[in-house]
């Protein structure tokens, strides 16, 4: 009699163990996906923010340039800066969306690690809001589907793992739906071209100011010349600046280095944008694997995060 009374308890325990085991992969996979997604989105945001930092440098360079040229107060200068302010405002919406995406992945990780449905509901709401702001800034009529933006029901402190796994799967689907709405808009070649064009325009103005300062003799070229000679054990002589100043070919060589560095940085802006789009695309199959209960292959997204970090280092010369 006593033993027969234990059967229901054993059955419930058995069910709980089986459910916990079957839900363990989705929860641990969700934590992995959340870490990768947060790292990728954060790095994308960092790279997008470099453009905003450039703007401060641009204002200083353009203001100096106008005074240097004896042309302060030219209305075209303020017009140029005004246009750039508006462009930067549009680009900052893109960076803001990436920040909210990182926040949504962090909340997904919290949800998978514990019952934090409230955090995720708040995070997905902010992601949808910033995503829709970005779509509006790019004059897109479409919006993120409303069902991707609704909050999860609160689970309470003693939520069972089966419910938790279901919530994690729903949360993952919601992030995926946001990504699928935004990627085609951001992957548009016109958007990409305009962002790169603007970066080239901004950098060209900064470089022009650097070149006039160099032509005026306030910069030394010796760091570059030392860098070139170092592998062969060579070092510039004292008074090298006078030698360069009196030799047109040397001056041209130093200026060519400045231009080449600027071109390389401009190319990195395009590459950073392309890599970020590739990163957003690489997250989609991870969400699909999570939903299917399949193992996550993080190879592609890990390589993209590494590339984004390398690009960030190349963009540094214009970061302030």
């Amino acid at each position: 009699m006593r033993l027969s009374g234990l059967f229901p308890l054993l059955a419930m325990a058995s069910f709980a163990v089986t459910t916990a085991c079957s839900n363990a992969p989705i929860l641990s996979n969700a934590e992995k996906l959340a870490r990768a997604g947060e790292a990728a989105a954060s790095q994308m945001q960092q790279n997008a923010l470099v453009t905003a930092d450039q703007y401060t440098l641009l204002k200083d360079a353009v203001t100096f340039d106008a005074a240097f040229s004896g042309d302060p107060g030219n209305p075209s200068t303020s017009n140029f800066l005004q246009q750039e302010t508006q462009i930067q405002s549009k680009l900052s919406v893109y960076a803001g969306m990436l920040g909210q995406l990182a926040g949504a992945y962090a909340a997904l990780g919290d949800l998978a690690g514990s019952d934090a449905s409230g955090n995720f509901s708040s995070a997905i709401g902010m992601l949808c809001s910033s995503g829709n702001t970005l779509l509006a800034a790019l004059n897109e009529a479409q919006q993120i589907p409303a069902d991707a933006c609704t909050g999860l029901p609160a689970g309470g402190g003693l939520i069972i793992r089966a419910v938790q796994a279901q919530q994690v799967a729903s949360a993952s689907d919601q992030i995926e739906a946001v990504l699928k709405t935004l990627i085609p808009v951001l992957d548009d070649s016109a958007t990409r071209t305009l962002i790169v064009l603007n970066s080239e325009l901004v950098q060209r103005q900064i470089i022009s100011t650097v070149k006039e300062l160099y032509a005026s003799g306030v910069y030394t070229c010796s760091p570059l010349l030392d860098e070139l000679g170092a592998p062969l054990g060579l070092k510039t002589i004292s008074g090298v600046d006078a030698v360069v100043r009196n030799n047109r070919n040397l001056r041209n060589g130093c200026l060519a280095f400045v231009s080449a560095t600027a071109r390389e940085t401009a190319g990195s802006v395009g590459a950073a944008y392309d890599t970020s789009i590739a990163g957003l695309k690489a997250l989609i199959p991870l969400h699909d694997s999570l939903r299917a209960g399949a193992p996550l292959d993080l190879t592609a997204i890990s390589a993209i995060i590494t590339s984004l970090r390398e690009l960030a280092a190349r963009l540094q010369p214009f970061k302030r």
Binding site: V62, D65, A66, F68, S69, G70, D71, N74, S76, T77, N79, F80, Q83, E84, Q86, I87, K90, L138, N139, A190, T191, T193, L194, L197, N198, E200, L201, R204, Q205, I207, S208, K211, E212, A215, S216, G217, R251, L255
Partner: protein, 108 residues
């Protein structure tokens, strides 16, 4: 028919050529008066920025004036090494800005 992006590209290249012409003039004599050259350079930059800003919002129709702008841009580039006088730079830059202004009207 060129797209708004292509026109923005032409305007950005024109601004780039204007900057190159300005830099070349400064390199010849850093103590000169560059007020008129600067006016041409920053006007070209402002037109390019306005075109990029507008093009980010949509894709308006554009016209063949873009070809004339590209021709002047290329002329500036091809003559950069031979121009020595500020007046020579200025004549070409004024022509460039004139065409750039006409092109930018298609974004209004």
């Amino acid at each position: 028919m060129p797209t708004a992006v292509k026109v923005a590209q032409s305007l950005q290249q024109a601004a780039d050529a204007a900057s190159d012409a300005f830099d070349a003039a400064v390199a010849v004599d850093p103590n000169g008066d560059f007020s008129k050259l600067h006016d041409a350079k920053i006007t070209a930059a402002a037109l390019a920025a306005a075109a990029i800003n507008k093009a980010l919002d949509g894709d308006p129709a554009v016209a063949d004036i873009q070809k004339k702008l590209d021709a002047v841009t290329n002329e500036i580039r091809s003559k950069l090494d031979t121009l020595q006088e500020i007046q020579q730079f200025l004549r070409l830059l004024n022509e460039l800005v004139q065409f750039a202004t006409q092109v930018s009207k298609f974004f209004v």
